[in-house]
Amino acid sequence: MVKVFITLAAAMLAGLPVPAGAEEKAGAAADVEAYVQRVSELAVDPAYGDYLSSPCTSCHGANAAGGIPAIQGQPAEAIIAALYEYKSEVRENAVMRSVASALSDEDVAALAAHFSQQ
């Protein structure tokens, strides 16, 4: 997987929702960058990513828009960053905080690889 550093600004460009005030969290962006870099390097089993992604598609349809963003085709780094920000409760959404809290770093890597290749 390509190593790219991601910032909240990049997540914004990628169209992922960024919570108000998130930019002010000192150090948060640096943490995200470190996390994205580390998780991007993890080996992934595509079959595992396929399976793990199946609960996501109940809400994130390929044509999703509005209330829930489509995540298919998003850059892997943006997906990793977003999941990290839900895990670390920078981002607000209660469903996604719950989802992310149950994911290991290997899970995040597998999901990012899966959705970025959709």
Partner: protein, 437 residues
């Protein structure tokens, strides 16, 4: 050769036992539906084409790339979702928008759709008997029939009485009856709702329905009508949120009574429009009676249920505790901490499909993960949600992290929550039926 004519005229069907004879019949074989043709592929049959069964069929077909022969049996041509039926009741959607067909599952995923009712499962022969006498053989069977209403759990109620006093707890005609009767109410006429005891389909469903009925009355400017909610349970799902919402949006309209006030629900008199309780008799121009529930009849008939009326399963795979070739998903299953919801059924279907593929095609099996979110609408743009992630633990499906909307949230957050539910519905339908809703 025994040819059994399909009563619906969808072409000749025949029992698998006769297949050996037909194999030599040349051109005749080509005319057969694919599920009766030569099989070296493992066969998976799914009973029930709802939130659970249709998802299971789609994932089995999609992820096995043609290595499995998948047959989906549903008793109707189209499926009207119970999820969002309250939104329909509230006037935000029409019935068409919550009714879906199976065409994409057939044309895009190669699934054999059989329209018919499964009446028996021969667990030794591994065949499903349809009401017209056809037998369909399986290597693995997914049982996803949803719930059946236990009519006689409320004295005076019956399937016939439900034509006048609908339960509307199964999608389709019942929902339409409730909508028609709701829309016909005049100011000052009351609604009496009897809610079901646990466990039942969609824990927040009755209370979302109360909200949507109140919305309709309020939108018409009614000030005299009341909704009496008679509950056999002391507490209910998202109670603080619903009660706050009723006070805010529908002051004085909704009166909820638990068993500490009303005692037992002694019975209903549908003709008189009356529900008798240990405390008082409640009268209404519209009765919405939602009785106790159990797993769909086919699960009972096949002896897959325990004393609770629902089907015990292995939390790691959704496999029936009663039969190693059968999986039970959705409302019919005993899914531990998971509520009986469309989202849960959809999630369980994916675990079952993965497990079945691993057994039949040797694909990888991964640790089961489940998820659920139930959104409810209280008033226009006032959405709330509850949900969790789940894993097998302690011999059941166990919640690992949960969340629920909080009283007093901002209008902006409530609107966002409602907007999530709208996207969820469309995504869920695409995920289940392979179509864009």
């Amino acid at each position: 050769m025994t040819l059994i004519k399909d009563r619906r005229g969808a072409g000749p069907l025949l029992t698998r036992r006769t297949f050996g004879l037909l194999a030599g019949a040349g051109a005749a074989t080509l005319a057969l539906p694919s599920y009766l043709r030569a099989q070296d592929k493992p066969r998976v049959v799914v009973i029930g084409g709802g939130a659970g069964g249709a998802t299971a069929a789609r994932y089995l077909a999609k992820d096995s790339d043609g290595a499995l022969d998948v047959t989906l049996i549903n008793n109707t041509e189209t499926y009207t979702t119970c999820f969002f039926s309250n939104i329909y009741l509230g006037g935000y959607r029409d019935l068409q928008s919550i009714t879906h067909g199976y065409d994409a599952l057939v044309s895009q995923y190669g699934i054999n759709k059989v329209t018919g009712t499964a009446v028996a499962i021969d667990r030794d022969a591994k065949t499903v008997r349809l009401e017209d006498g056809t037998d369909i053989a399986y290597d693995r069977l997914v049982v996803a029939p949803g719930i059946d209403i236990i009519y006689d759990s409320i004295a005076g109620y019956s399937e016939e009485a439900a034509e006048t006093a609908p339960h509307a707890w199964k999608g389709g005609p019942q929902t339409e009856i409730l909508k028609t009767r709701l829309d016909a109410l005049e100011d000052g006429q009351n609604i009496v709702m009897v809610t079901p005891p646990n466990p039942y389909r969609c824990p927040p469903g009755p209370y979302e329905r109360v909200s949507m009925m109140a919305h309709v009355l309020k939108a018409k400017g009614y000030t005299q009508s009341k909704i009496f909610v008679l509950d056999p349970k002391e507490t209910f799902s998202k109670q603080a949120l619903f009660q706050e919402g009723w006070e805010t949006h529908y002051p004085g309209m909704v009166e909820w009574y638990g068993p500490d006030v009303i005692g037992e629900i002694a019975g209903v008199d549908v003709a008189a429009g009356a529900v008798e309780t240990g405390f008082d008799t409640f009268e209404g121009a519209l009765l919405n009676i939602i009785p106790a529930q159990r797993a769909g009849a086919i699960a009972v008939e096949a002896d897959l249920v325990n004393e609770t009326g629902f089907c015990p399963i292995d939390a790691a795979s959704m496999k029936s505790s009663a039969d190693e070739n059968i999986y039970v998903i959705g409302d019919a299953s005993i899914a531990g901490d998971m509520p009986k919801s469309g989202f849960s059924a959809n999630s369980q279907a994916k675990v079952a499909a993965m497990s079945i593929r691993a057994e039949l095609t040797g694909s990888s099996a991964f640790p089961a993960r489940y998820a659920n979110t139930c959104w409810s609408l209280i008033e226009t743009d006032d959405g709330v949600k509850v949900g969790a992630q789940y894993e097998p633990a302690e011999g059941k499906i166990t919640a690992t992290s949960t969340f629920v909307s909080q009283p007093g949230e901002t209008a902006e957050l409530r609107k966002e929550t409602y907007e999530e539910s709208v996207v969820w519905y469309d995504s869920m339908i695409a995920d289940t039926f392979g179509i864009t809703a």
